[in-house]
Each structure stands twice: as C-alpha cells, then as structure tokens.
C-alpha cells in the first residue's frame, strides 16, 4: 500500500478564554512593613495603675491576601525572620482572613456604604473595613519603665494569596490607638 503524503491538518485556534484562578499559596514575608511615629506611653509608667492595654487597629482592609500581622514595639527593623519574643519587642499577632481578591465583575468589590438610601435593608458590603484588638499589657508596662515613647511596627506575613492579591501592600488600616484600662 502506497503511502499518502501527509499534510498537517490545519490547526484549530483555541478561542482565548478568561484566565483561570489558581489556588492561593503561602507567601510568607516580603510585604511592606509599617512603623508608626513615636507614641507616648506615659499612661503606663510605674506611678500609674494599669490593668490592661490594647492596641486597637481600625479600618483594616481585608479584600485580598490573608496574613498574620506581627506586632513589635521599639523594633523598626523587625521583619518576618525576627524572633517572636520579648527581647525583640514582639507583643503579639492579629490575623486577617482575607477575601482573596475580587472574583466578580467590575465594581463587585467596591464598598459604598456611605451612599445607602434610608430604606436600603440589604446586608452591608462584605468588605466593610474590619477592626482588630490585641492585648499588649505586659510589653507596654515593661517598656514604660524606661521609655516615654515607643514605635509600633506591623510585619505582615502572608498565609494565603492568589494572583488577584497585592502581595506588597498588604497591611492597610485607617487608624491605630493604644487603649489602657486602670
């Protein structure tokens, strides 16, 4: 049987479809680290009674990566490799369970709560900003013995992020404050 010369079949061009989203991955450190200006802690000096001090972080964006926010006092050089002990100023962590980026059409993740009508009974937008509170009593009390001011450094360590997440600008908040109780 003679062989027929084979000509390559015309290639079917695959229509470009939307890209698919891979699973979130653990990224770790490398995101931007934030350090506050010096903050007065004279409320915690030995002559004051201090039963509890909380670092309250308000207006936290949680629309993208999930992360651990490690809190260091008086250690602006802290990063994700810094030991989490008192010697290095570690005061505790908070955790953000992130949205994982926008999986909707344009505008799906835009929060517009201030523009609600009076009779709008729908649930609030899931990306309404969050708050976290971390009790830091012992660290503040210790530091107040020798310091009038402290800086607070937040080191984000990313536990889960997909391709929709900004892995540089991770920790974003509106406001922080130290709240003490006596």
């Amino acid at each position: 049987m003679g062989r027929t010369p084979r000509t390559p079949a015309p290639r079917k061009e695959r229509a470009p479809g939307p890209r698919r989203l891979d699973a979130p991955r653990r990224v770790g450190g490398g995101a931007r680290i934030f350090t506050t200006r010096p903050v007065s802690i004279d409320f915690a000096t030995p002559e004051h009674r201090l039963t509890r001090a909380d670092l309250e972080i308000r207006g936290i964006f949680h629309g993208e990566a999930s992360y651990e926010g490690r809190i260091f006092f008086n250690n602006p050089k802290a990063d994700h490799d810094t030991p989490r002990d008192r010697e290095h100023g570690y005061a505790g962590s908070f955790y953000i369970f992130g949205h994982g980026g926008c999986l909707g059409d344009p505008g799906h993740c835009e929060v517009n709560e201030h523009a609600r009508e009076r009779y709008d009974y729908r649930a609030p937008h899931p990306l309404t900003l969050a708050s976290k509170s971390v009790t830091v009593t012992d660290v503040v009390r210790d530091l107040a013995r020798t310091n009038k001011e402290v800086t607070i450094t937040i080191v984000p360590v990313i536990t889960a992020a997909n391709d929709l997440c900004d892995t540089d600008n991770v920790f974003r908040c509106e406001d922080m404050r130290l709240v003490s109780y006596n």
Partner: protein, 265 residues
C-alpha cells in the same frame, strides 16, 4: 435530650462513624443542585458571598457581630443536608489544639487519598466548578498547611474563654478562627474559596463548640438586643433562633474516659 444529636471530635470517631462521614460528603459531592456540596459551599464565598466576618455595620450604630450566629446557622443547614444523605451522621469538630500523639496538624482522616473502601477520599478535597466566576475557578481545592507548632494552643482558647463580654469574646474567637484558616492556607486561606475545602466544616464546628462552651459559662453574654432579630440569610433563621444549640437539635459530646476498676469480687 433523647432526640438530640451529638457532635463529636474528629479524634474520637470510630471507623463506622468515619465511614458515615465520608459517605455523606461523597454523596453531597455528586449532587449539583441546592442539596449538594457545590451549591451549599458556594453560599460562603464565591459565588454567593453570604458569610459574615468582622464587625460589619448595617443600619444600626453599633457594630454587627454576626460571625458566630451566621456560621452556626450555616453549619446547621450543612449538617441537615448531610443527614438527608446519611441519616444519623453528625458534623465532627477538628480540635486544632490537640498535639501528638493524638493529632499533629491536620487530622489524618482529612489527608488520605483513598478511604478504607478504596474510593477517592472526599475529605481530602473537592473539585470547585465555578466557570461563571471572574476569573473562573474550576479545579480541585488545595492546602498548604503550616507547622503544627503554629496552630492555636489551649492557652489561646482559655484566654478567649476568659472574656466575659460578648464583643470582646466574639472578636477574640474570630481572630483564632482567622489564624487557623491561614494555617491551612490554600483554598481554606481565603474567604472566597474556604468552604469548598472539606476541613472547613470541622474547623467551624470547633469554633461553634467553643462558643457553646462559653455560653454555658456566660449565658448569651449580653448579645445586643438589636441583633436578635437579624436574619441570617439565606437561612430561614434569625439570631435568636440559634442562641441555644438544643433548639437546633444538637449538643457537643463531652470528652469521656472510662477506667474499669472492678468490684470486690
């Protein structure tokens, strides 16, 4: 309490209970309508986004902390769907505070590729099928767990339980919850896809159990009255309906040890 169903720890399930648990998930994973795994898991994040996290404000001036009530209603609905498939089965909790030799990170039953029957293990993962998402999510779930030493410890739970005020407790427990989601990482690590991972339900059962233990000490802990009438959409329940787990027909089994001593002979 005769008709009350008992939820147990994953670490305490016997072989027949594990088999029933697997069977319920396996059957749910085969159903594509609103009785099945795909649709019910999609209530949490993508595509329905009903879940409540953090302190979202709605129409009231105070912060809305519906994280615990909403997830209790969700687990209740999920467990009912499980029992539609396998009567008698209940949701077991994953106690992530347990260390070796009882457990080391993820419970073993969630990490096996095949069950005792040789079939693919439905507790390992689920194939998400959301071609309509933007971008589409059509693939098996994945995990990337951290070191077991990074999981919350009993001391963290104790600290949480020591808080007597509702908002303080709810926020502290939610933070531990957030930590575990991040520890499992992969799809469990973000709100959008977390509920598709089969471990999600046992993690949240642990959270619900801690809330119930706290309620046993503190009552309802002054849950703000404004919250009681809030609807836990899309479930047919309000906050006041989920405060007592007995009203939902379940209870958490206490850890029990029996040491035979014998009589005088």
């Amino acid at each position: 309490m005769a008709d009350i169903r008992m939820r147990q720890g994953v670490h305490n399930l016997d072989a027949s209970q594990v088999a029933a648990f697997r069977d319920a998930y396996r059957q749910m994973m085969r159903i594509n309508d609103n009785r099945g795994y795909q649709v019910l898991a999609g209530r949490h994040g993508v595509p329905d986004w009903y879940c409540w996290h953090h302190q979202q404000n709605a129409r009231v001036a105070q912060n809305m902390r519906l994280f615990l009530p909403w997830h209790r209603a969700y687990l209740y609905t999920w467990e009912m769907a499980m029992r539609d498939r396998v009567p008698g089965v209940t949701l077991p909790w994953w106690d992530w505070t347990l260390g070796p030799p009882r457990q080391n990170g993820l419970p073993a039953i969630f990490t096996q590729r095949t069950g005792a029957d040789g079939q693919p293990d439905p507790l390992l993962g689920f194939r998400i099928n959301l071609p309509q998402a933007n971008p589409p999510v059509v693939r098996p779930t994945r995990r990337s767990p951290g070191s077991p030493s990074e999981l919350p410890r009993q001391a963290n739970v104790d600290d949480c339980m020591s808080r007597t005020e509702w908002a303080d407790f709810s926020d502290a427990l939610e933070d531990i919850h957030d930590q575990v989601h991040g520890w499992v990482s992969g799809d469990m690590g973000v709100i959008g896809t977390a509920a598709f991972d089969p471990i999600f339900w046992s993690h949240h059962t642990m959270i619900d159990r801690i809330w119930w233990l706290w309620q046993a000490r503190n009552g309802n802990g002054n849950v703000p009255t404004d919250l009681l009438d809030e609807v836990l959409a899309p479930f047919n329940l309000q906050v006041r309906d989920v405060l007592n787990v007995h009203d939902l027909g379940y209870e958490y089994a206490a850890a029990q040890s029996v040491v035979p001593i014998g009589g005088t002979g």
